[in-house]
Amino acid sequence: MTSFLRSLSANQQVSLLFVLLFGFLTLASATLLVLSMRDRPQDDAQAPKHGLRLKDYQGLVRTSWLMALVFWLGWAAGPGVATALFGMVSFFVLREFISLSPTRRGDHRSLLLVFFIVLPLQYLLVWTERFDLFTVFIPVYVFLAIPTAGALGNDPQHFLARNAKLQWGIMVCVYGMSHVPALLLLDFPQSPGRSAFLVFFLVLVVQTAMMVQHIVSRYRGQAVAPAVSASFNWYGWGAGVLAGGLLGAALAGFTPFKPLPAMAMAMVASVSGSFGHLVMKAIKRDRGVTHWGPAGSSITGASGLLDRVDALCFAAPVFFHSVRWNFNL
């Protein structure tokens, strides 16, 4: 299997991956369609719960289609377009984050700076492959610029808390997310053209780990931090990380890594992704909602995109930097 995969050109491999991905999504959509046409359970107490869960899955499949299309477009049209597309995803999730984090009138200039200068600049740095600057631009320069703009806004009330909110928003939604297209631009001298897989690798591994964790923790284990997440427990977490690692090893043929390093990389991504998801849950709890989207606070009209990509936002930078250091890129 692995030797067959290696004999294909990089482009053929990606095409194969897309055929598999879209095939899988078509299957998932068809299954949900059949499920939605089936009779509802007669038991009244179960009926609304069942409908809600179905809706949840439908939402998940819809987002998956959207993400798959984004990846496909990004791959077909080149890294420039991919960077722009992820820049837009960044914009939308940051909009959700800011909408649920009350800002004051004095923050207006800082917000303008974040949305219209920092976000495009960060993606411009990715696109032009200035990796050294792109790594420090937000944590060093922007983290100094935001409070400065805030202080010039002449409003000291809750100053530290307000700036922390903004900086967290940028860190997760812009800095984290921008590492996904950056993976496309990594250049592996031994195996050129393979960095396109790294994005798939990362996304597939992290999503699988999250899904396995979600399913396993529903049936076994005791919540570690019930005030933050009713479902997070070490049993599910371990199962998720292991599943992510195994999938990573299985996908090694597609990547520039050998199976064991691929497994280690996948586990690093799964660990940071699942912890990131937990951190975002704590932030949401602090805001008094369970989702960024309609289920928690329908008032904002958010679609909950951030709920779907938060693990990715945490996993991408950790994954990116460990790849770079391990392979001296």
């Binding site: 909009r95 800011i98 909408s99 009138r105 917000l111 949305f115 329908s298 008032i299 904002t300 958010a302």
Partner: protein, 203 residues
């Protein structure tokens, strides 16, 4: 042609910045003659509620615009007339002319209206007391359905004194229609109408 392109551009821009989500509670979006009345905190209110309506309703619904502000420059005038098909009202009473006359004309010709009964923009979270225009209109046109609406978050998009909007998700919640009771006094009706708007804040 130009106004149509401008309309589409504005619609896209508003959706990108705010999402312009409409939430229909208490009544469905329906092509009957209506007066939508909402809280007023920003110049963007008018634009947002216009964008939140479904396109079939948008074409028969006319927002009220303050004449002195929205005709101050040719661009503002062109947008409010061409794109929003707005009804201009005077904020200052001039001579004997009834300030409600343009609204009465619009209602007589069968249009729906978007009005802000506070008169001017408020800066507090709670809307100010409603002015009597809403009462006078419903007395004169009892068959027109009065739909309360609450506009969320829009004051964060452009606070007073700022020029460039920031992207923050906004929504408009439409509530159960209000009716003028038999012989209901003006003050009571206006308080009830205002409460109907405020209640939508927490839906």
């Amino acid at each position: 042609m130009g106004t149509k392109a401008m309309g589409l551009f504005l619609l896209g821009l508003i959706r990108l910045l705010t999402g312009a989500q409409a939430r229909w509670y208490g009544c469905p979006p329906k092509a009957e003659q209506r007066i939508y009345f909402a809280n007023h905190q920003s110049h963007a209110d008018l634009v947002l509620i216009w964008a939140a309506l479904p396109s079939e309703l948008r074409s028969i619904t006319r927002p009220i615009a303050a004449k002195d502000y929205w005709t101050a420059s040719p661009l503002k005038q062109w947008i409010t007339t061409g794109v929003f098909n707005a009804v201009y009202v005077e904020r200052e009473r001039k001579g004997d002319e009834d300030p409600l006359q343009p609204l009465i004309d619009a209602l007589e010709s069968g249009d729906s209206l978007i009005i802000f009964p506070e008169g001017t923009r408020g800066f507090e979270d709670e809307p100010q007391a409603f002015k009597s225009g809403l009462y006078n209109l419903t007395q004169r046109f009892p068959e027109v359905v009065l739909v309360p609406a609450w506009i969320h978050n829009v004051q964060r998009v452009i606070p007073k004194g700022e020029v460039i909007p920031v992207p923050v998700l906004c929504s408009v919640t439409f509530g159960t229609p209000v009716q003028l009771g038999e012989g209901e006094p003006r003050g009571e009706f206006l308080t009830r109408a205002r409460n109907a708007v405020v209640e939508l804040r927490d839906v």
